[in-house]
């Protein structure tokens, strides 16, 4: 028996360095959050897969384009789209809509929600906006936070652990599971929006679509490589378990059947000769494309916290926030902290909630975790995203032509 950081069935070694292209320049090591990249300067490097979070930061920043993913569902998805018996549901993450345009000649950061819906509709996908699931995540994770806060204020014996960490980012979750298992009680038990979306599409969605759940094929389109690993976690077949309990008897299927990165979705559309830049806008085909502004900002650092505070304010005080933009959690500082005092109707007293937002995790998280372990953390709620800037800069996003692979062409 050897020690491993993977459960059976999980995708291992997703990110790999091509030794024949690697020049040993060490650039990737500067972007790796876990020091998982091994090898002396000048010699070809390799990735320690047990330390690797599959975040893909090395891949998008390699100056020689020497780093690759070992798993792609592109061909499978194209086959499923051609299969008339299967309903292919495309789950679109927030950060995809402001980046995929770059692959079709549009400007950096251009918002293309309607065009992306249109292009994916043309390709044969049902549209399920992951922002709907992000709103659902706020309902669950926000309620969980308020529950923990109240239980702690009242001093209940089995009050949940504070601070509560967000659990949307699979790189962060895997980091905590691998390096700080004693803090797992602090992690919100809410699934990530991707996993909620897959589960809802195959349970409630099966009713909405009037389809047998095993004939629904869910494809998450993500700015993230680590989401592939997350979707492969063996416990993420809750829709199947639900239907088995309700009398079904079929072979197990995952909640999310396939994950395509933003780059791979662009590739798929190009293979099907769909030019996103010139596709008419489409509004969606079910209630699963309805989302709020709070759901869409999940894709950037501070967005989950801002969305959670908007809802927590309403639940605790009974009123909406006077100004929805919560500036202290916006921007690119490594750790952003803020304090909010509000009148809690249920407790009939003022409560002060201290929040923190961490991104570029490898460089910023350790001091925070040390404080939590020591019991001296001033915070109640902490958002963590692995990638600098959040999902907008995820390992599955289009690679910036000015900054990286250009050098390989010299």
């Amino acid at each position: 028996m050897t020690v491993t950081s993977y459960q059976p069935g999980e995708i291992q070694g997703l990110i790999e360095i091509d030794a024949s292209k690697c020049k040993g320049c060490d650039a990737c090591q500067k972007f790796c959050p876990t020091n998982a990249i091994e090898g002396a300067s000048g010699a070809a490097h390799s990735i320690n897969k047990d330390k690797c979070l599959s975040c893909g930061q090395c891949l998008i920043n390699c100056p020689f384009g020497a780093i690759k993913e070992t798993h792609s569902a592109l061909e499978t998805v194209i086959e499923k789209l051609a299969d008339k018996d299967v309903k292919v549901v495309g789950i679109i993450a927030p950060a995809v809509r402001v980046a995929i345009g770059e692959e079709f000649g549009l400007g950096s950061g251009e918002l293309v929600t309607g065009k992306l819906y249109g292009a994916m509709n043309k390709a044969g996908f049902k549209i399920f906006d992951c922002n709907f699931a992000a709103d659902l995540t706020i309902m669950e994770e926000g309620s969980e936070f308020i529950h923990r806060l109240h239980a702690n204020v009242k001093g209940e014996a089995d009050a949940g652990a504070l601070p509560q960490f967000t659990s949307c980012c699979p790189g962060w979750v895997r980091y905590l599971e691998t390096n700080y298992p004693s803090l797992l009680a602090n992690l919100s038990t809410a699934k990530s929006p991707q996993q909620m979306a897959g589960t809802v599409a195959k349970t409630y969605g099966a009713e909405v679509y009037n389809m047998q759940p095993e004939k629904i094929f869910t494809v998450a389109v993500m700015p993230c490589t680590s989401k592939k690993l997350e979707a492969s976690r063996p416990e993420f077949n809750s829709a199947w378990k639900y239907h088995q309990q309700h009398g079904a008897n079929v072979a197990s299927y995952q909640d999310v059947d396939a994950v395509l990165t933003t780059r791979e979705m662009a590739q798929l559309l190009k293979l099907l000769e769909i030019d996103l830049a010139h596709t008419p806008e489409f509004k969606g085909d079910s209630l699963f494309s309805e989302y709020t502004g709070a759901g869409t900002i999940f894709g950037t650092t501070g967005g989950v916290m801002e969305a959670a505070l908007r809802t927590a304010h309403k639940v605790l005080t009974g009123n909406e926030m006077a100004k929805l933009e919560f500036e202290p959690v916006r921007g690119l500082a490594g750790v952003k902290a803020a304090s909010v005092t509000l009148f809690d109707q249920q407790l009939s007293q003022d409560v002060t909630v201290n929040v923190a937002v961490v991104h570029d995790m490898g460089k910023n998280i350790e001091p925070i975790l040390r404080d939590v372990m020591a019991g001296t953390s001033p915070y109640h709620f902490i958002e963590v995203m692995n990638c600098a800037g959040g999902c907008v800069n995820g390992g599955g996003q289009p690679i910036d032509g000015n900054g990286s692979s250009w050098i390989a062409n010299i």
Partner: protein, 106 residues
């Protein structure tokens, strides 16, 4: 007076072919990365992070509804299917448990 002794120690100059190649490659790699590459890389990265984030904040500011609890589709989900947040169905479908990965064996 000159008391220096000159010893011929050719062996100390010797490096193996393998080592020569390694040093040469390291040298080439350093030459290939212009000075300040990392700093300029981070600067250009921050540019596209900012433009993409601005795109999402724009999506938020133009949205008709801007708070999750006002999403009518979410309300419909709970009413027709999910019950209420943190309820039985949520526990079964929308929450999970985490894994202590220091205790896994293959």
């Amino acid at each position: 007076m000159n008391n220096n002794k000159h010893e011929f120690a050719e062996d100390s100059f010797f490096i193996s072919r393998r080592k020569f190649m390694a040093i040469g490659s390291a040298f080439l790699a350093v030459m290939a990365i212009p000075v300040g590459w990392f700093a300029s890389k981070v600067a250009s990265r921050n540019d596209y992070i900012k433009s993409r984030s601005a795109g999402l904040y724009k999506d938020d500011s133009i949205a008709k509804l801007r708070v999750s609890h006002a999403n009518p589709a979410v309300e419909k989900y709970y009413k027709e299917f999910g019950g209420k947040p943190l309820g039985h169905m949520s526990h079964e479908l929308l929450h999970t448990h985490f894994v202590d990965r220091t205790k896994l064996n293959s």
